[in-house]
């Protein structure tokens, strides 16, 4: 036999016992050619485009699941940033388009659609402002629409006026949805990638073709398992072992992504090699770190361990695919990771340590519940801190915070399903209000001047 029994069983074990899956196949769709001066025709163009390709995505992905026996957990769509396609429309257009997106993906059996957002790192157009103002209505009134704002970049600096708005918007969304759950569908970024397949920040960038099929692989459970089996090797050896595992799972993602793109007759985009936790036991990034020898995530040494982990994943992934893109880091979404939640509950992990961790991984302060009475200016200040890390270091960072109405630090909150459960984190009560309300634009760092 061309393959040894051990090799075949390694793959089978990954899917059966280690939660290996393709986390998402996300079809990027250009909507610019759907624009029409008549809003009804505009909406109809958008609906038809999304349902046609959405139905095909679900059907073709299902066939590949059967063929390869690797679950494809999420089938998603990202679209052109909506602020760009409503520039010439009436002020009511954003809400109407959001409703159309929501209806179209529901009808097509797609679980989330990303791209309801704007690129405002340097400034806001009138349409950007209208879209931002619509976010509380859209995120409380739709089920499957995800929103993003790109607020900073290494070449443009950071738009502090947008940072101020983002803090207020998060508060407003949280107050209008149960447990603030609407905030789980809204993320703000610096250096947001145009081909990210993961929600809530997926959008189909302006440099993309009409269609682009992007794949997000995963496999914290697989990596955790190999680390667990290699308790005595040194960190050089451990890096090598993680690298080999990342290579294998990336190859699987690349195979499935390419074949899906061919079957749908659309260009293949990228493989995003991010490790992404899920709420399943064992499918945890913090769990990998525990197996590496960190008692609880957040303990001294956590940043070094995470740096080693993500470096090995990137090296293995880059060897496996010529089309690595998207975020390609390690996600640390607190509510979605059971070991991370335990670290929060026991006091091992603070938001300050999470911020430090994001200096070495993508993608930022993710799925963190904070007290409902946190002032909007404090939320803006946390956003400014986190995005500064991305702006200055030339990397993507994001913020997805959930102010939970009526809850205080230490309280338990359950968002349900994929969004998980967590404990409300303690936030500093010292104020940065006067700093934040200065507004303006933080100039681009000197490291952005590479030309």
């Amino acid at each position: 036999m061309e393959y040894s029994l051990d090799e075949v069983m390694e793959t089978v074990h990954m899917t059966l016992y280690q939660n290996f899956d393709i986390r998402t196949v996300t079809l990027g769709i250009n909507l610019k050619d759907c624009i029409h001066s008549d809003l009804e025709i505009f909406k109809s163009n958008v609906y038809d485009r999304i349902t046609e390709y959405g139905n095909r995505l679900v059907f073709e992905a299902g066939k590949l699941e059967d063929k390869y026996g690797i679950p494809i957990i999420n089938k998603r769509i990202s679209v052109t940033p909506i602020s760009l396609i409503i520039e010439s429309s009436h002020e009511d257009a954003p809400l109407e388009i959001a409703g159309t997106l929501d209806r179209a993906v529901k009808d097509a059996g797609i679980d989330f659609i990303g791209g309801y957002g704007a690129l405002v790192q340097k400034g806001m157009t009138k349409a950007d402002e209208i879209l931002i103002d619509s976010l509380p209505d859209v995120l409380s009134g739709t089920e499957r629409v995800c929103a993003f704002l790109n607020i900073g970049s290494t070449v443009s600096g950071m738009n502090m006026d947008a940072v101020i708005r983002a803090g207020k918007i998060m508060k407003s969304i949280s107050q209008r949805t149960e447990n603030g759950i609407g905030c789980t569908k809204f993320a703000v970024y610096s250096n947001a990638p145009e081909d990210n397949p993961f929600m809530a920040g997926a959008f189909h960038g302006v440099g993309e073709p009409d269609f682009s099929l992007n794949v997000g692989i995963s496999g914290p459970g697989v990596v955790r398992s190999v680390v667990e089996k290699n308790k005595s090797c040194d960190l050089t050896g451990l890096s090598e072992i993680i690298k080999r595992t990342a290579f294998k799972i990336t190859r699987a993602g690349e195979l499935i992504g390419r074949e899906l793109a061919v079957n749908m007759n659309v260009p293949f985009g990228i493989v995003d090699i991010s490790l992404a936790s899920t709420t399943k036991v064992g499918d945890s990034v913090a769990g990998i770190m525990e197996q590496m020898g960190i008692e609880k995530m957040g303990a001294p040494g956590s940043t070094a361990a995470l740096a080693l982990l993500i470096d090995a994943v990137k090296k293995g992934g880059a060897m496996a695919s010529g089309n690595v893109g998207g975020l390609s880091g390690t996600f640390i979404p607190v509510s979605e990771d059971s070991c991370m939640n335990e670290a929060v509950r026991t006091g091992a992990l603070s938001i300050e340590k999470l911020e430090a961790l994001t200096a070495v991984c993508s993608v930022g302060l993710d799925m963190i519940a904070i007290p409902g009475d946190t002032p909007a200016e404090t939320i803006s200040a946390i956003i400014a801190d986190e995005l500064s890390i991305g702006v200055v270091n030339g990397k993507t960072t994001g913020v997805r915070l959930i102010p939970v109405p009526g809850k205080k630090a230490g309280d338990y909150v359950n968002f349900g399903g994929l969004m998980g459960e967590t404990y409300v984190m303690d936030i500093s009560t010292f104020s940065s209000r006067d700093f934040i309300l200065r507004g303006g634009r933080m100039p681009a760092p000197i490291t952005g001047m590479k030309n």
């Binding site: 075949v8 069983m9 793959t11 026996g69 190859r251």
Partner: protein, 92 residues
């Protein structure tokens, strides 16, 4: 004609008739067994069967359902996966 190779894998408690039941099922669908490998790993019966489906009319999805029914009756975990996934993961 291009061959359609699938790996059928079985994990579970050793018992009489595992290979017989699976061989009968694939034969009934005109599937040719090309290779077979089995051993006891950590107390479990483990088997991989490489089969060529190119002359068969059944889809991998339907084959999996049939094998899964046998698996339920015999308390075994039975998978069927196209060979390409193993090539992608284990061969450069």
């Amino acid at each position: 004609m291009t061959r359609v190779l699938v790996f059928i894998t079985v994990i579970g408690k050793d018992q009489k008739g595992i290979i017989a039941r699976i061989s009968n099922a694939v034969f009934a669908h005109n599937i040719n067994i090309e290779d077979l490998n089995q051993k006891i790993m950590a107390g479990y019966f483990v088997m991989t069967m490489l089969a060529d489906m190119s002359d068969s009319k059944i889809t991998i999805g339907d084959l999996k359902k049939e094998l899964s029914d046998i698996g339920k009756q015999m308390d075994l975990s039975i998978q069927a996966q196209h060979e390409n996934i193993f090539k992608a993961m284990h061969r450069v």
